[in-house]
């Protein structure tokens, strides 16, 4: 107590202030100490507690955004306040409000962690961040009147800067708990990732390439470094195999007895289903990989599993939403009622794009008619132009179909001289040139289209029809011979 007293007295000597202010400082000091000792007063023991605590606690993610917004606003008000004094006056109020909401958010957060039995390094980091931030805000609140009265001094601005840093760090920790560590960087452009050196070079084992990424994306936000619900961590092979407080979750060689596999294959509405709390279930493919991996020994090093072939070199391009074409809808609908070429929506979701059908006008549909579809070009994802009167000139129009994924040109007069123009179609994955005059030489230009997955040259000079295949003899691989990167990927 003597230390406390000395500090208080020194504070009083340094700052010649009124009695009320002194009380405020003393009260603040007491509160700060209380906050600092909170993690020891009530330990996070990793067990879940009363339901009411969880109920209230779950409002933490909701409440926490209020102080964040207010705290960002304070420095802004102070700075802009140099020009508009009225704004600076508001800053004091906003800061006080921020402090109050900090206290609320901190209490709710603590209830959440304690109530739901969260523990782990991430949770404690976030908790400490919250405590420190609240204290810094409190000091800001105390320091501000002096700074304001004198209008000079660096203490308060420095405190504000510290507050901002603490805020960003704490918020980031909290975000990682909710969404997982790689949430922000997951979709970072590959080039940017390389520059910033995110992610490490993947090892060649099946676990490293396929199992770990699944667990990382779906499980590690609750079972990782940040939180370790049920004492289980899945962010490394050793920790995964070690299991949680109820024992191992993986029984090598027996997926049926592995708790991990049991829990991910329950009906999604089951209480014990994982990933929990309404997070999306694993993909059937991922479940299949996990099953095969466990059944075949759950090894960290094995590179290949029996019965599992993964076409990872050539992933199908994800569907890219097309732009808004609602203004063209009347025209599209009118077209659909008449005879002839028409556009139809891929699905009820307009952003899935349009398909161009020409089957009813095939013999008369020529390059000039295709050119009339230019204004729809960016919205067309598939063009069925087979058996039309199109010639090589069509590629000048087609190269503007920038969202095109599938292109049918079978049985047309194409010779392939303009195929290289398709190189601008960065989403093109399917191209059917069967029954055209395309030669091996002109088809070679397709190799520059990186997105192409399915190329068909059946019955063309590039790939003549197989002469007299007898059903009783082994068939020659008739498809896709001219496209070495195609790996029967349908």
């Amino acid at each position: 107590m003597t230390t406390l007293r000395t500090i208080t007295e020194r504070g009083v000597r340094m700052l010649p202030i009124k009695q009320s202010t002194r009380i405020a400082w003393a009260a603040s000091l007491g509160l700060s100490l209380l906050l600092l000792s909170l993690p020891w007063l009530v330990r996070l023991d990793g067990h879940s507690h009363a339901d009411w605590q969880q109920f209230l606690g779950r409002f933490h993610p909701l409440a926490v955004h209020l102080p964040i917004g207010l705290l960002v606003l304070v420095p802004l008000l102070e700075v802009v306040g140099a020009l508009r004094p009225a704004l600076r006056e508001a800053a004091g109020f906003v800061l006080a409000l921020a402090f109050a909401s900090c206290l609320v958010a901190l209490s709710l957060g603590f209830l959440l962690a304690y109530g739901s039995g969260d523990s782990g390094a991430g949770v404690s980091r976030h908790l400490w961040g919250g405590v420190v931030l609240t204290i810094v805000v409190l000091i800001c609140l105390l320091a501000r009147p002096q700074w304001h009265a004198k209008g000079v001094g660096y203490a308060y601005p420095t405190l504000l800067a510290c507050m901002l840093i603490a805020l960003v760090w704490t918020a980031d920790q909290g975000g990682s708990l909710t969404h997982g560590n790689n949430y922000l960087t997951q979709y970072m452009p590959a080039g940017m990732k390389r520059v910033l050196a995110f992610g490490t070079t993947p090892s060649a084992s099946f676990y490293a390439r396929h199992i770990h990424p699944i667990l990382d994306a779906n499980c590690s936000s609750c079972h990782g470094e940040g939180q370790a619900k049920g004492g289980l961590r899945m962010d490394s092979y050793e920790l995964l195999m070690k299991g949680g407080k109820d024992g191992a979750v993986i029984v090598a060689g027996n997926s049926g007895k592995s708790v991990l596999f049991q829990r991910i294959t329950l009906p999604p509405d089951h209480k014990q289903f994982m990933p929990a709390e309404g997070r999306p279930p694993l993909q059937p493919e991922e479940i299949r990989w996990i099953k095969a991996w466990i059944d075949q020994g759950a090894s960290q090093t094995v590179a290949k599993l029996d019965g599992i072939t993964i076409r990872e070199e050539l992933p199908e391009a994800p569907i890219v939403p097309v732009g808004d074409y609602s203004s063209l809808m009347p025209e599209i609908q009118k077209m659909a009622l008449g005879q002839g070429a028409k556009l139809k929506q891929v699905s009820a979701k307009p952003s899935d794009g349009l398909v161009l059908f020409t089957v009813d006008a095939a013999s008369t549909f020529d390059d000039a008619q295709l050119a009339q579809f230019q204004k729809f070009a960016p919205y067309i994802v598939e063009a069925e132009l087979d058996r039309t009167a199109l010639t090589d000139a069509c590629f000048d129009t087609l190269k503007q179909f920038t969202n095109l994924r599938a292109l049918h040109l079978e049985e047309t007069k194409i010779t392939g001289s303009g195929l290289a123009k398709l190189a601008s179609l960065s989403h093109l994955s399917y191209l059917n040139l069967s029954g055209t005059q395309v030669t091996a030489a002109s088809a070679a230009s397709l190799n520059s289209i990186k997105s192409l997955r399915h190329v068909y040259l059946y019955n063309t000079p590039a790939q003549p029809a197989p002469a007299a295949t007898r059903a009783s003899q082994p068939a020659t691989p008739a498809v896709e011979a001219a496209q070495p990167k195609e790996k029967s990927a349908q």
Binding site: S347, A348, V359, Y456, Y458, A471, Q490
Partner: protein, 512 residues
């Protein structure tokens, strides 16, 4: 002007600007008023928007989510999501193909020859009247050997050497199971999702939901294979491709297996196309008057069908003209394909229909109902179908059509592992078996080269990953971009759907 109840802020109030007060005060007032109005109105708008979103917004809009009413109206409802397959070809094996002899390899059965099927396997199952009085149920192992094929190493019976070559393209389901044990209810259940007649079949639901991809051929076509009297045939009839309570324009249109593909499609002598057109116009006019008088939507269906028939007068002869098919086609499908009405011909026809934008083609092959004499009949029917199935898949694949075409091969049930009637080393019979049977799919949306589901050592019960008929149908709809719970039609007070009222689920393990 009648005031909208939500817009209370436009009530008439005394306008300060009209009062006799200094202009400066007016100006001040105008500024205040603007801000107040803005804030006040914004507050109200936000409040109502929040209220609207809190209340069920469907209730506010007052619309019905079911697809009642003709699709292709104001807003497109189907496909619900981007489909993997645009069209489907369904090879229906009527009679119940024997999974024991074709797909479901059980090497251990050889040692069980003529031993009684353990009671524990059959359990309390009620059998058909044909075998229920049998004194014993002797196990009849398959007469044929099996071989492993493809990268997937799938076991396929020697009866189907050509199918063996494409197993890596197939998605084989060994755990299909049905609730019906006799042909009529089972085949209705498979096709319409209900054992009783009167419900729309899969093809009609697809036609209703997805509509046509072309103007000149029907959305849903049915090809029947010529009767082979060496086999044991069960009748099929148009009830299987009926549109049930849906508009009759969604019913399947059959192509005949002999003579004119469509009866009375050709103009009679002395009637040219122009006369036909005039006649149709007159008939349509009369039909329209009838519609205006009575308002029966079936009248509109009739007009649409007359028009379709008129267009089919030119599209069907072109479809049936195989003279332009190159030699490689005949090499692939075999010599049978030249004879109209054979299974191979129908497979070729199914490919031609798919090329011409037909959404759904169903090929019926009868003759799989082998209660006796399996060793004689089964090779005949396998010879008849093995090449056609192989050729269809291979042809679709080489032409790049397998990417967006779903091919389905299924019967209404399987056959028993025990022999019906006498069992000899050379011959046996097999009764109907609903508890497990093998089906396969290939192409758009399904995962190639896998076998899904497992049966017990007697190919009698499903032990892993059962696929019910409704799951099977839900999965087919899924491949075509349809959520089976959303494809509904209000009839008799219910939102009717193909998969029926019992919960069904898409079999995600089958999907690519």
């Amino acid at each position: 002007m009648k005031q909208h109840p939500l817009c209370t802020d436009t009530e008439h109030v005394t306008n300060v600007l009209d009062l006799a007060i200094p202009a400066q005060v007016k100006q001040e007032w105008a500024e205040l008023q603007t801000r107040r109005h803005f804030l006040g109105r914004a507050g109200k708008v936000l409040g109502w928007a929040a209220a609207a979103s809190l209340l069920n917004n469907r209730a506010l809009r007052g619309d019905n989510y079911s697809a009642a009413g003709a699709p292709g109206g104001d807003s497109l409802k189907f496909p619900n999501f981007a489909p993997r397959a645009k069209r489907a070809i369904y090879l229906f094996m009527s009679g119940g193909p024997s999974q024991v002899d074709l797909w479901d390899y059980k090497p251990n059965l050889a040692a069980q020859f003529d031993k009684d099927l353990p009671d524990s396997v059959r359990g309390s199952q009620q059998l058909t009247g044909m075998t229920t009085s049998q004194a014993r149920f002797p196990v009849a192992p398959s007469h044929w050997a099996f071989k492993r094929y493809g990268e997937s190493g799938t076991w396929v019976s020697d009866l189907m050497p050509n199918m063996g070559r494409i197993v890596d393209d197939l998605t084989i389901i060994k755990s299909t199971n049905t609730e019906a044990i006799n042909h009529e209810p089972a085949i209705m259940l498979m096709n319409t999702g209900n054992m009783n007649a009167g419900k729309p079949c899969l093809g009609s639901w697809l036609a209703y939901g997805l509509g046509s991809m072309n103007d000149n051929l029907p959305t849903f076509m049915v090809l029947q294979t010529k009767l082979n009297t060496d086999e044991n045939n069960q009748p099929v009839s148009s009830r299987l491709w009926s549109s049930g309570f849906l508009s009759s324009e969604y019913a399947g249109v059959g192509l005949r297996s002999a003579g004119d593909p469509v009866l009375y499609l050709s103009d009679p002598n002395g009637v040219d196309r122009e006369v036909r057109r005039k006649m149709l116009d007159a008939v349509n006019e009369i039909n329209r008057q009838t519609y205006e008088e009575l308002g029966d939507p079936e009248t509109n269906s009739r007009i649409a069908q007359y028009e379709m028939a008129y267009r089919m007068q030119s599209s069907v002869p072109e479809l049936a003209d195989l003279s332009k098919e190159p030699q490689s086609t005949w090499d692939l499908y075999g010599p049978d394909a030249r004879v109209p009405g054979t299974f191979a011909y129908n497979c070729l026809m199914a490919r031609r229909l798919a090329e011409r934008g037909v959404r759904f083609t169903q090929v019926y092959k009868r003759g799989w109902d082998m209660h006796d004499n399996v060793t004689k009949i089964l090779p005949i029917i396998c010879r008849e179908t093995d090449r056609g199935c192989y050729a269809l898949i291979t042809d679709l694949k080489q032409r790049g059509m397998l990417d967006d075409t779903l091919v389905i091969w299924a019967g209404e049930f399987g056959r028993t592992v025990y022999s019906q009637g006498g069992l000899t080393p050379d011959n046996y019979g097999r009764d109907h078996h609903p508890r497990c049977y093998t089906t396969w799919m290939a192409g758009g949306g399904v995962r190639p080269g896998i076998t899904y589901g497992e049966t017990d050592d007697y190919s009698y019960n499903v032990v892993k990953d059962p696929v019910t008929v409704r799951d099977f149908n839900a999965t087919i709809l899924h491949c075509l971009g349809i959520d089976h719970n959303k494809l509904t039609y209000k009839f008799q007070g219910l939102d009717q759907k193909l998969t029926g009222p019992v919960p069904a689920s898409v079999v995600s393990g089958l999907l690519a």
